[in-house]
C-alpha cells in the first residue's frame, strides 16, 4: 500500500496533522501564533547547520528552533521593545540567516523550495516511521503536561500560586513545538508550518465546548485538510504544501458560516 507515493504522502500528512492539531490549540489559546512562526522560520537555519556539522537535519532544526525560542523568552523580559517588534526582527532575521547560510554552502545542493514549501510527495517509508514514532512521543508528552499547561494558559500567576511549575511546563511545550516543526517541515515547509498548527485549531473552536474536545476536533480537521489538499493538488497539478493550507483555510471559512447550532462562546 505504501508503494504509492500519494498514499505515503497522505499517511505522512495525516500523521503530522494529528499531532499539530492539539499543539496548535495551545498556540492559539496562548496567543503564540507569531511566536510559532518565528520558531519555524528559523528551521531552515537548523537544516543548514545540520548539514554543516553533519548531523541529522531534524536534530539541527530542533536545536536551532529551541535556541530561538529561548532567545525570545529572554528578550521579552526587556520592557523597551514590544514582543511584536521582537518577533518581527527575529522571525525575518532567522529566515534570512538560514537562506544566507544555505547560499554560502555552495557545495550543498539543497532544493530550497522543498524546504520552504514542503515536498510531501517525496516522503519515504523512513519519514513515515519518524513521523508516527515522533508524533506518538510528542502526543504522549503533551498528555503528560496537559493539566499544568492548561492551568498556566488560563492564568499563569494563579497556576503558579497553586503549585504549577509554569516555567518548566512552558519550556517543555516549546520543545514539543520545535519537534513538531522538525516533523512537519517536509510536509508543508518552514514557511507554512504555523498554518497547520493554527488553522485547524481555530476552525475547531466553534464545535468544541471543552479544551479537550477542541484538541481532538482540531486533529481531525487537520487530517481532513491534508486529504483534501493532496487530492486537489493531484487533480489541479498545484504544489502540495500550499494546497493543504488552502484546504485548511477553506474549512476555516466554512466553519464561519452560520449553520447548525448557535456559535458556542
Amino acid at each position: 500500500m505504501l508503494d504509492d507515493f500519494l498514499v505515503r504522502a497522505m499517511v505522512a500528512g495525516v500523521g503530522v496533522a494529528i499531532v499539530a492539531g492539539p499543539l496548535g490549540c495551545f498556540i492559539v489559546w496562548r496567543r503564540m501564533a507569531y511566536f510559532g512562526d518565528t520558531m519555524s522560520h528559523s528551521a531552515l537555519l537548523g537544516v543548514a547547520l545540520g548539514f554543516l556539522v553533519n548531523i541529522q537535519p531534524m536534530v539541527g532544526v530542533v536545536v536551532v528552533t529551541m535556541f530561538i525560542a529561548l532567545v525570545l523568552i529572554s528578550l521579552q523580559q526587556r520592557p523597551w521593545l514590544s514582543s511584536d517588534t521582537l518577533l518581527g526582527i527575529l522571525s525575518h532575521s532567522a529566515l534570512s540567516l538560514g537562506l544566507v547560510a544555505v547560499g554560502l554552502m555552495a557545495w550543498l545542493r539543497l532544493d530550497l523550495l522543498s524546504y520552504l514549501f514542503g515536498d510531501i510527495l517525496a516522503v519515504t517509508r523512513m519519514d513515515i516511521l519518524w513521523i508516527y514514532a515522533g508524533g506518538a512521543a510528542i502526543l504522549a508528552a503533551l498528555l503528560a503536561i496537559w493539566r499544568p499547561l492548561l492551568a498556566s494558559t488560563v492564568h499563569e500567576d494563579l497556576a503558579r500560586a497553586e503549585g504549577v511549575p509554569a516555567f518548566r511546563v512552558k519550556l517543555i511545550f516549546m520543545l514539543l513545538i520545535a519537534l513538531v516543526i522538525a516533523l512537519a517541515m517536509k510536509i508543508v515547509g518552514v514557511l507554512l508550518i504555523t498554518s497547520l498548527l493554527i488553522i485547524p485549531a481555530a476552525t475547531a473552536r466553534r464545535f468544541a465546548r471543552t479544551p479537550e474536545q477542541m484538541a481532538v476536533i482540531a486533529a481531525l480537521i487537520g487530517a481532513v485538510a491534508v486529504v483534501l489538499g493532496l487530492q486537489g493538488s493531484l487533480h489541479l497539478d498545484t504544489p502540495s504544501g500550499p494546497s493543504i493550507v488552502v484546504a485548511a483555510g477553506i474549512l476555516f471559512a466554512l466553519s464561519l458560516l452560520p449553520f447548525g447550532r448557535p456559535k458556542a462562546t
Binding site: W29, R31, R147, A159, E162, R205, A208, P211
Partner: protein, 267 residues
C-alpha cells in the same frame, strides 16, 4: 511584631525595587485565622506586588516571609482575561489544578450563590458572577487563608455589597483568614477587622475607624473619603442578591437601602 500561634502568614520588612523605582519599602503585614485584613492604597501603591510576594510569586529584595506549616491558600486574582478562543466551562475552570468530584464543585458554587453556573462558559459570565465563581474555586481547596485581589472589580454597586457580605459570611462559617486588596475605600473598610493603608510603605494601619481618621490616610485620599467612611459603617436591614434582589439579613437596622442598580448581564 512577634508572630502569634494563630498567625497564618506574616511578612516583615518586605522591600522590593525595580531598577531605581521602589515598589515596596519595609512593609510588614500579617493575617491571623478568622481575621479580615484589607490592604488599601492608591493605584501604583504596590498592593498587587505585596500580594504576589506573599503568594511566593515574586521574591522580595529583603525582608522575611513566614507561613504556617501546611498553609492552604485560596487565591482570587485581580483579573482573569480568558481568550474567547479557549472553550472553558466553569466546572473545568474550577478543577484546573485540583481534581474534585462534580458534587464538590457544585457545593462550592452553591456556597457563593452561583450553583446554577456550573456548566456555563466562563466568557459569558458577568463581572459579579465571575468573581463568585473564582471565590468558589478558591474555596474548593478548603483554604486556611483567602487572598483576594480586588474582589469587587467589574461588579456593580449592589453586587459589591453582596460580595463583601459573602466574604464576611465565608470567614464566619469557615474560620479562615482573609487578605483582601482594594482601592475602593468605604465598603471594604467597614468589612475589615484591620486595614493596612499602603503607598509603597505602610502609611498607617489599624481598625477602619483609626485608619479613616489618620492624617496620612486623609492626605492620601482626601477629607471626603474620611466622611464617606462614616456613612458606610452602618448595618443594613437587608442585603442584595447577585441580581440585585432584596434578601433578608440577620440583624436589623434602620438605614436607607443603598441604590440598587440593574444587573449587568444575566444567565
Amino acid at each position: 511584631m512577634e508572630p502569634r500561634a494563630d498567625t497564618l502568614i506574616a511578612g516583615e520588612g518586605l522591600s522590593l525595587a525595580y531598577g531605581t523605582q521602589t515598589l515596596l519599602h519595609n512593609v510588614s503585614v500579617s493575617v491571623r485565622a478568622g481575621e479580615i485584613v484589607t490592604v488599601i492604597g492608591p493605584n501604583g501603591a504596590g498592593k498587587s506586588t505585596l500580594i504576589k510576594i506573599l503568594l511566593g510569586l515574586v521574591k522580595p529584595d529583603s525582608g522575611h516571609l513566614s507561613r504556617r506549616d501546611g498553609l492552604r491558600i485560596g487565591y482570587v486574582p485581580q483579573r482573569l482575561p480568558i481568550d474567547p478562543v479557549l472553550p472553558l466551562t466553569v466546572a473545568k475552570l474550577m478543577t484546573l489544578t485540583i481534581r474534585r468530584s462534580r458534587g464538590a464543585i457544585a457545593g462550592a458554587l452553591a456556597e457563593t450563590g452561583v450553583g446554577h453556573l456550573i456548566d456555563a462558559a466562563v466568557q459569558t459570565l458577568s463581572g459579579g458572577e465571575l468573581q463568585r465563581v473564582l471565590l468558589a474555586r478558591a474555596l474548593l481547596a478548603d483554604p486556611d487563608l483567602l487572598v483576594l485581589d480586588e474582589p469587587v472589580q467589574g461588579v456593580d454597586f449592589a453586587g459589591e455589597t453582596a460580595l463583601y457580605q459573602l466574604i464576611g459570611a465565608l470567614r464566619d462559617r469557615r474560620g479562615c483568614g482573609v487578605l483582601m486588596v482594594s482601592h475602593d475605600l468605604h465598603m471594604v473598610m467597614a468589612a475589615a477587622d484591620r486595614v493596612l493603608c499602603l503607598n509603597r510603605h505602610v502609611c498607617c494601619s489599624g481598625t477602619a475607624e483609626v485608619v479613616g481618621q489618620h492624617p496620612e490616610y486623609i492626605r492620601l485620599f482626601g477629607a471626603r473619603a474620611a466622611q464617606a467612611l462614616a456613612i458606610y459603617t452602618h448595618h443594613h436591614d437587608h442585603g442584595h442578591g447577585i441580581s440585585g434582589n432584596v434578601v433578608p439579613l440577620s440583624g436589623a437596622g434602620d438605614d436607607p437601602e443603598p441604590p440598587s442598580r440593574t444587573r449587568e448581564t444575566g444567565p
